[in-house]
Structure formats: C-alpha cells, structure tokens
C-alpha cells in the first residue's frame, strides 16, 4: 500500500510551485489548513491563484499567504470583512487580482471539475454583474448561466482524522468546502491532527474516500484557525 503520509511539512507542500492554482478549504477559520499554508509561505512560493471562500483572517492562514507576497489572484466569495484587512491593503494597492464568485457556484464549479463534467446551468446570479460575459441558456423558459469547471493544480484541505489509506473524516462545520476541493485538484494534500489504523474509520462514515487523497501531513494536534473568535 502506498504510504501517503508526508514525512515533514516541507515534504507535504513541495509540489506547490510558483504560478499554481491552489484550492484552500475552510469557511471562516474552521477547516483552513493553516499549517500547510505556513509551509508554503516558508517556501516563498510566488504568483499563486488561490481559490477559497474568505480573504483571510487577521494575519494567519490565507491572510499570511497574501501578506508574504505569495498570491497574485484570489477567487473567493466574501473578501470584504473586517478581519480580512491584509487582503484590503493589497487589493487597494493594486497588488492582487480579485474574482468574486457566488458561494454555491464556487462549490459547484469545483465539483464539476472533480466529476469530469464540462459545466452546469445555474439560476444563481442571472441578471447580475457577476453574469457579465457568461453565456445564458434558456431551459423550459427559465434563464440559466453556463458556469465552467474550476480545477486546482493542488488542493490544500484540513480534516480531523486520516486512516493509513487516506480516508478522511471532518469536524463539524470545518467540513465545508474541504471534501469538494479534495475531488477537484490534480494533487490533494491534507492537514490532519491524527492518523489512525486502516480499520478504525467505519466505511459508512468516511466523508472523503482515500482515492481523492494524494498525501497527508499529521500535525499531532487539532487546532482551529488562529483567527477564531469566541463570540
């Protein structure tokens, strides 16, 4: 059996190269693979296109990645939040490209890529600025936007546990985009707190089957993003 466990953080993130499109899990702090992100920062990777829901919290996680100059473009749903001040500084200074995608459409575009489909028709955003330049198709008298697949070179995701084959389970609302992104990239790297034996995860409760996981890095402890609030 292939050993998917990365021997070091450096080892885990070394396939992330300059210019890559990187899907990063999380919604707010839960589910953001902050340790993997730190590894990329340490490698001084440049010119990444990052696909993730938020634009970072405080100066950690995705915010750190931008702060250290690793990111040239951000594809996200909700960039303007108080805690995303690093993004705001860079965007206002013209140092970051931004593409806003509705949240359901963002998730569906990645799933479409993962499922080998060519696109989908959605009622979301019809008639809005976010439909500009997109094809409209009428089905049974209703207008839909044709949305195209969004694939990553790499997905960085966070899970609660991995078994030694690479099957994953998640924790509460930290699940969010992670299982979808796992399907939608050429290489999926997972940050997990714990590795368990191959029989310890019930096959009925596995959320991400091992076939979507290329490697995982075991942190030894589960930590929610440093930006988590208690309110």
């Amino acid at each position: 059996m292939k050993n998917k466990r990365a021997q070091s953080l450096e080892d885990a993130v070394k396939i992330v190269k300059d210019g890559a499109t990187v899907l990063i899990g999380g919604f707010g702090p839960p589910g953001v693979p902050e340790i993997l992100i730190d590894g990329i920062c340490d490698n001084k990777i440049k010119n990444l296109t990052i696909v993730t829901n938020n634009a970072g919290t405080d100066r950690s996680g995705v915010a750190r990645l931008m702060d250290e100059g690793c990111v040239s473009k951000l594809i996200c749903t909700f960039p303007w939040a108080k805690e995303s001040f690093v993004f705001k500084e860079l965007y206002d200074a013209g140092k970051l490209q931004l593409e806003i995608v509705p949240q359901g459409t963002l998730a569906e575009r990645m799933r479409t890529a993962g499922a080998g489909l060519g696109g989908f028709l959605t009622p979301t955003a019809v008639g809005t600025d976010l439909a500009e330049g997109k094809q409209i198709h009428k089905v049974n008298g209703t207008d839909y936007i044709l949305e195209l697949p969004l694939r990553g070179d790499v997905a960085l995701i966070k899970a609660l546990k991995a078994d030694k084959r690479g099957n994953l389970i998640y924790n509460k609302s930290a699940r969010n985009f992670n299982p979808i992104m796992a399907m939608a990239a050429d290489q999926t790297i997972v940050e997990v707190s714990e590795e368990v034996e191959i029989d310890e995860l019930d096959p009925e409760v596995i959320i991400t089957p091992s076939v979507f996981v290329d490697s995982y890095f075991v942190t030894g402890h589960y930590e929610v993003g440093k930006g988590s609030k208690q309110t």
Binding site: P29, F78, P102, T105, T128
Partner: protein, 224 residues
C-alpha cells in the same frame, strides 16, 4: 423625516419577522439583523435554521465552557447544533439553498424594488462586493423576506420603484420588514400590511420611493 422615537428597534423588527415564520419551516438567516430572529420564535415551534457553511439545524450560541471553535454560523459567530441537526458539505448545503428546500430566507438589503428585485451585495460606489451565498439563497428559497431600516442614514428610501444598485436576484422578495412598516410585494403592487405604532400610512408612503397600496394597513402590535 419621521421622528425616530416611533421607529421600531432592531429587536422589534426581528419579532415581527419571527411572528410570520411558520412552524415546521426550514429557514436561512442572513448575517446582521436577521440573526436576532431566533430569540423571538415561540418555544413550541419547530423551526430549523440552515447555515450556508453546512449546518442544518443551527442552534443558539454556546453556553460558556461549551464553545466549539469548529462550529460557526455564516456570520462566523460560534453556534450550536440542535438535536437532530446534521453537518453537510458545501455542495449539499447549496443544494438545499438552491433546490427550493428553504421555506424562507430572511436577508438584509440595501434596496428592494417594487418588482421584488433584491440588492444586498454591493454598493454602487464600491469597486467590488462580498456576495457570499446571498445570490444562491435568494435565487433558491421559496420565500425571500427582507429585514432592514426603511431609509438610509441619509434619509433615502430603500424601497423604490426601480433599483439603482447592483442586483442580487431579480423579483424574489415577497415581504419587507422595516423600522416603519411591513410591506408585501405582490405581482402588481406593494401592499402596506402594517405600520409601527405612532406612524401613519401616509408617513410610510412619504418615506418610500414607490407607490404603496395603503388601503388595508393595520398597526403593528408590539409585545416588547
């Protein structure tokens, strides 16, 4: 401008919305003002709250000592899960939102037009906005209720004949709850359903940028 002392508080508006949510509904609450609603749901009602980040059956904030940092709302505050709630991934969460499973979504807004157009994701002077799940939820919910102040801080009406702000979803709003009134959006007109105590239907009309049918308006009964 109407005397501010007669305007409903945010809590009073929330209580008005809560009164119109039906037992058994699945409801999505937007960030901001709508998050006040759960406190005003009758305790014998079974209303489930959906949070776009994959929480089906979102409960109130945790008690001290019971916080779970991985369990948050769309607004990123810590929450709980009710008994019988479930976690889903983003695809299934938006299948719920887009697929017509939400009996109601209560959202904030910058503008609502007489035809039900909703504008709540970007101000015209901004280079960009934060759409989040608003466009999906507004397009997919069975009913979209809006909760907002009746006018901007500058006194401009947020309810107008035709929208001037960037669109979130076209023709979706069916009811608007403001600090002055409750207004239904019908196919051909805006119906003034109820007005805050101390405010007249004419006051509401003059603070509104679209024609209102004020014939049958009631006074809002407040319990708080």
């Amino acid at each position: 401008m109407t005397d501010r002392k007669y305007l409903l508080t945010r809590e009073q508006i929330a209580a008005c919305v809560a009164k119109d949510l039906e037992d058994g509904w699945l409801v999505n609450l937007g960030i901001g003002m709508p998050t006040l609603i759960p406190s005003y749901i009758p305790s014998d009602y079974d209303i489930m709250f959906h949070s776009e980040n994959g929480v089906v059956g979102m409960g109130p904030p945790p008690l001290p000592g019971e916080e779970e940092l991985d369990l948050i709302s769309a607004g990123k505050g810590l929450v709980t899960l009710i008994p019988g709630g479930a976690y889903v991934n983003h695809i299934d969460s938006f299948a719920i939102a887009r697929g017509g499973r939400l009996d109601c979504a209560v959202l904030g807004a910058f503008q609502v037009a007489a035809n039900g157009d909703l504008c709540n994701w970007r101000l015209p002077q901004q280079k960009s906005g934060s759409v989040g799940g608003a466009m999906d939820i507004a397009a997919g919910a069975k009913r979209v209720y809006v909760m907002m102040t009746h006018t901007t801080r500058e006194g401009d009406s947020k309810i107008i004949s035709e929208r001037t702000y960037p669109l979130t979803a076209g023709g979706v709003v069916s009811k608007v709850y403001t600090d002055m009134a409750i207004i239904s959006v019908e196919a051909n007109e805006l119906i003034l359903e109820a007005v805050a105590p101390g405010i007249t239907p004419e006051d509401v009309q003059s603070a509104t940028g679209a024609h209102l049918n004020i014939e049958n308006s009631q006074e809002i009964k407040l319990n708080l």
